[in-house]
């Protein structure tokens, strides 16, 4: 019989090792041009991949998710910060689903 606490300890240990090794072991700037460019693009690609289509699947109706996506892009384009963009997206979904559902 496995113990739940040992399960959790293993999950926590593995999760931390993955995060801590690169940060602590890579002390010097990477010189390789390919790898440098690769790491430069990683954040944008990861976040973009995770945003769509997840945003239209997260809401009760895909239409409200799509509305949040469009308004969020517009707000961020015109300089709204993290907090304002996020809040606008939430408000858009709340308002849209008020009428839709």
């Amino acid at each position: 019989m496995q113990s739940t606490y040992i399960y959790l300890l293993i999950m926590a240990g593995v999760s931390y090792i993955i995060r801590v090794l690169p940060m602590t072991l890579i002390r010097k700037p990477i010189q390789n041009k390919f790898f440098q460019s690769f790491l430069y693009y990683v954040p944008y690609v990861t976040l973009a991949v995770m945003t769509f289509p997840a945003i239209i699947e997260a809401t009760q109706s895909p239409v409200s998710g799509l509305l949040a996506l469009i308004l969020g892009i517009a707000a961020a384009w015109f300089g709204a910060d993290l907090f304002k963009t996020a809040l606008l997206c939430c408000a858009a979904v709340l308002a849209a689903e008020w009428f839709l559902l």
Partner: protein, 250 residues
């Protein structure tokens, strides 16, 4: 700015401001976390975990897909090795993020900040940290963690306790907070660079394709994310190598 020993002490005004800014930017993350972890808590309860165990898992693992996969395995009575491997796979993208962050740290930053900053690398906290120009300020990250982490852990515990009490409408609205933040990180960069704008569009299209195409869509979303990230970032790096180092100053 000159980097001295004091640069990294909390007694300086810059770092207090960074801590406050991090906290401020962490609020929408916390909101989104709360909604997501609430449903994670329901999964924890279904796997036979107590609210405290759910709380502990979220406090220590800081991973949505990874925790969810873990809970499913716990429920199935999997072996310790299995749970270790699945945790490794579902969280592999954090390895990449950690590599990327290592390139944005000042060589003068005291070493103890590295293991501390690494503890809470998540999609969202990574996103807002790297969106800021220049070297990363650890205090900005700590500020964001200070609000986001309790929301994540408490949300899980509450989800395990209260199940389906929160109105669906609110859960639905809160759940897009995360994506709103992602947009706030990537869109300003797209406005400045046509390459990034095109890349983001391509990401949307391929990600959409990957989640609906047969075979590919059977992979978990964590796996799809890491494969698409590897492929698309490599392609962009080959076709549009980054010209010069821009992060020298600031």
């Amino acid at each position: 700015m000159n980097y001295t020993k004091e640069t990294y002490s909390l007694t300086t005004k810059t770092n207090l401001t960074a801590l406050r800014n991090g906290f401020h930017d962490g609020i929408p993350i916390g909101l989104g976390y709360f909604a997501v972890s609430f449903s994670l808590g329901i999964a924890a309860k279904n796997a036979g975990l107590t609210p405290f165990q759910g709380f502990l898992a979220s406090l220590l693992c800081n991973a949505s897909a990874g925790e969810y996969a873990g809970f499913t395995l716990i429920a199935a009575g999997a072996s310790y090795l299995e749970i270790a491997i699945v945790t490794l796979i579902t969280n592999a993208r954090y390895l990449l993020m950690s590599c990327a962050m290592s390139q944005r740290l000042s060589p003068k930053m005291p070493g103890y900040h590295r293991p501390l900053m690494a503890f809470h690398i998540t999609d969202e906290l990574f996103g807002i940290a790297v969106a800021r120009p220049g070297y990363l300020n650890p205090y900005y990250s700590y500020g964001a963690v200070l609000i986001a982490s309790p929301c994540w852990a408490l949300g899980t515990a509450l989800g395990a306790i209260a199940g389906n009490l929160l109105p669906l409408r609110l859960v639905s609205a809160c759940s897009v907070a995360l994506y709103g933040m992602f947009l706030a990180v990537i869109i300003p960069a797209a406005r400045q660079s046509k390459v990034i704008a095109g890349l983001i569009l391509l990401c949307f299209l391929t990600s959409f394709g990957a989640s609906y195409l047969p075979v590919v869509s059977e992979a978990s979303s964590g796996t799809r994310t890491i494969i698409l990230t590897l492929v698309l970032s490599s392609a962009a790096a080959i076709l549009f190598p980054k010209e010069t180092k821009e992060e020298e100053e600031s």
